[in-house]
Amino acid sequence: MRKVGLILVALLFGLFGIYGISAEKITLIVASGSKTSPSYAVLAKQAERYMQMHPNIEIKIQEMPWSSTLQHDMYATWLSGQLPYPDILRLDIIWPPEFASAGWVIPLDEYIEAAGIDLSDFLPGPINGVTWQGKIYAIPYFTDAGLLYYRKDLLEKYGFEPPETFQDLKEQALYIMEKEGIPNGFVWQGDAYEGLTCDFLEFLWGNGGDVLDAQGNVVIDSPEAVEALEIMVDYIKSGVSPEGVTTYKEEDARNVFQRGDAIFMRNWPYAWKKLNAPDSPVAGKVGVKPMVHGPGKKSAATLGGWNLAINAYSRHPKEAFDFIMYLTSPENMKELAIEAGLSPTRASLYKNPQVLAANPFWKYFYDVLLGARPRPVHPRYPEISNVIFTEVHRALTGEITPAQAIKNMADRIRQIVGGGGG
């Protein structure tokens, strides 16, 4: 009996040790991208500095997987189990409505007011993305928007201006492919996952269509939407895009483009640094511009980006908020932009000469960012997106016609938005 007692005492001490009740230091666990992602080293450095300024706080970094979908599913598992850590979560721009309505993250308005923080320097798109029913649930950390990369050298060689419309891109691609013997014209993200939803939305918006209107009604069953999907299918059928594009994610597309095996690529800003690395075959030969669009329509970019939020079950929300504001301060965001190449969410940094020297193309990128559009804002967005990429993928692989795919999308999204389907 005495032995059992001893073991129990030892166990209890062990537990207290783990939960830090006996320790006088406060431990904050902050989620980050994977160790190989560019932001990890910068975060580690900034956490180190913060700990020196605040000796009572210990910051631990929790590495998360590369894929946004996998991160989402891990958070969902932890938070529905009411786990108090990580204290600081990194939310993809599409999650705040979902996490807020589940009660997994806390509104930050009170903290912002109490600390007298001015958010007017932050870009409007990301701030909209982290706002749900009038409250702010996260602070934008870095942002993203879809871009069109093109082979500057080849376009100049054949006297082409960078393409404006879907048709321009097709004609230029087919012409240069033929002349140069390049196997692919245009590569993008066609695998059935979140990336395809982003790409499709740029075709859809760039052709004047939309998924939901301002009142939240489903308006995707429009002729513009069918036409947008027909253009994507036609890119594959006419050989502008390889048939295998339906298996590509970001890195697959970049690999093809970086080898010099494609003339155009749709991708996020991160690709710029890799394309222009010293060992890249296309270094210095690449231009960027906003995505192509329909005749007489406006180019559209899908808004991406990551935001810092506080776990609703965290034991130290006040300390967590302070660290979030430290990470998103102008100086630290500048460091993140210069060293990791991640686009800041503060407008003022796009005029900063040091930032622009490190990322020259951001001069053009700023306008793309200002016009970038959020994906449908809805707590059931993951289901909506799943319907979009599943049906688009079916059309791309020729299983169903574009018109049928759009009709399926409309029916299924209406069910989701209307509360049907569980």
Binding site: E243, G244, E399
Partner: protein, 297 residues
């Protein structure tokens, strides 16, 4: 039958000794199963905890009208049937070869296990690269042999993608089947073959009337294992296509509904049906084949 020989205190002791094991089973097996079943009777989405309520068998009724679920069901049955049949056929062939004495047999028996030893996620990534349309070795070889005019995106074509996954799965799990069958072959007494030879039986007759009947227990065990495993297939599909191009199996769909949509009620209903299917498959094997093959008297 021990009842008469045990005293009351011995019986209590025996019960006491079994009790912890029963508790463990109850806690880690029965309770989660029961919990899933209870959840499957509710409309419960973790995003809207306030709207949680009982719908009784509503989720199940919806399942059999849900085209996504029915498609996944068809895909799963097709995958299970084709991959297990191929594995049995190829595994039996490999086992028969490995059962004969030849130079370096020990090495071959060890080497054959390599695909089985590699974690599926890693071997699936390997296959993903081999299937790649631009850099993949499979397209490269076929192009050099002039068998195909241009590279094929093996994982991006509906109809082709499922077969590509089946091949990757057969490559991985065939060795497991082969080894189980090899163990079965090794316990068949040599005398039976000698007797068959004296009776004038040829190679085929010896296989059909001696090897096969005596191998039945091993075949049944490996079929049960592999069928259940194949029915629950997840990792190889998740890595290769994520369920795209008509390859979404039940477990892939289940994960999506559960963890991406956080629809715990509907997701649990899918889980319960997967459990029911596996239960029925096992029952069919044991009742059907078991009795016919005299495994159960």
């Amino acid at each position: 039958m021990f009842r008469g020989t045990l005293t009351a205190s011995q019986r209590r002791l025996a019960f006491g000794l079994v009790l912890p094991a029963l508790f463990v089973i109850l806690f880690i097996n029965i309770y989660p199963l029961f919990q899933s079943f209870i959840l499957s009777l509710q409309e419960y989405n973790a995003k809207f905890p306030a709207q949680r309520h009982y719908v009784w068998f509503g989720n199940y009724l919806k399942l059999f009208r849900d085209p996504e679920y029915l498609a996944a069901l068809r895909t799963t049955f097709f995958f299970t049937f084709v991959s297990v049949a191929l594995e049995l056929f190829l595994g039996l062939g490999a086992a028969l070869i490995m059962n004969r004495p030849f130079f370096g047999r020990g090495l071959v028996r060890a080497a054959v296990l390599i695909p089985w030893a590699i974690p599926t996620v890693i071997s699936a990534r390997m296959w993903e690269w081999m299937y790649n349309d631009q850099f993949g070795v499979i397209n490269d070889i076929l192009m050099h042999l002039h068998l195909i005019p241009e590279p094929i995106p093996w994982l991006g074509r509906p109809g082709v993608a499922l077969w590509a996954i089946i091949i990757a799965d057969v490559w991985k799990t065939m060795p497991f089947m082969a080894l189980l069958l090899l163990a079965g072959l090794q316990v068949i007494p040599e005398e039976l073959y000698e007797a068959a030879v004296i009776d004038g039986a040829g190679t085929f007759k010896r296989f059909w009337y001696v090897t096969l009947p005596l191998l039945r227990p091993a075949i049944l065990v490996s079929l049960i294992f592999r069928t259940i495993d194949a029915f629950r297939v997840f990792d190889v599909v998740f890595v290769l296509t994520g369920g795209a191009s008509g390859t979404k199996t039940l477990v892939v769909l289940n994960r999506e509904v559960f963890f991406s949509f956080l629809n715990y009620g509907y997701g649990s209903a899918i889980s319960v049906t997967i459990f029911a299917f596996i239960f029925l498959i096992s029952l069919a094997y044991i009742k059907g084949f078991g009795r016919k093959w005299r495994l159960i008297e």
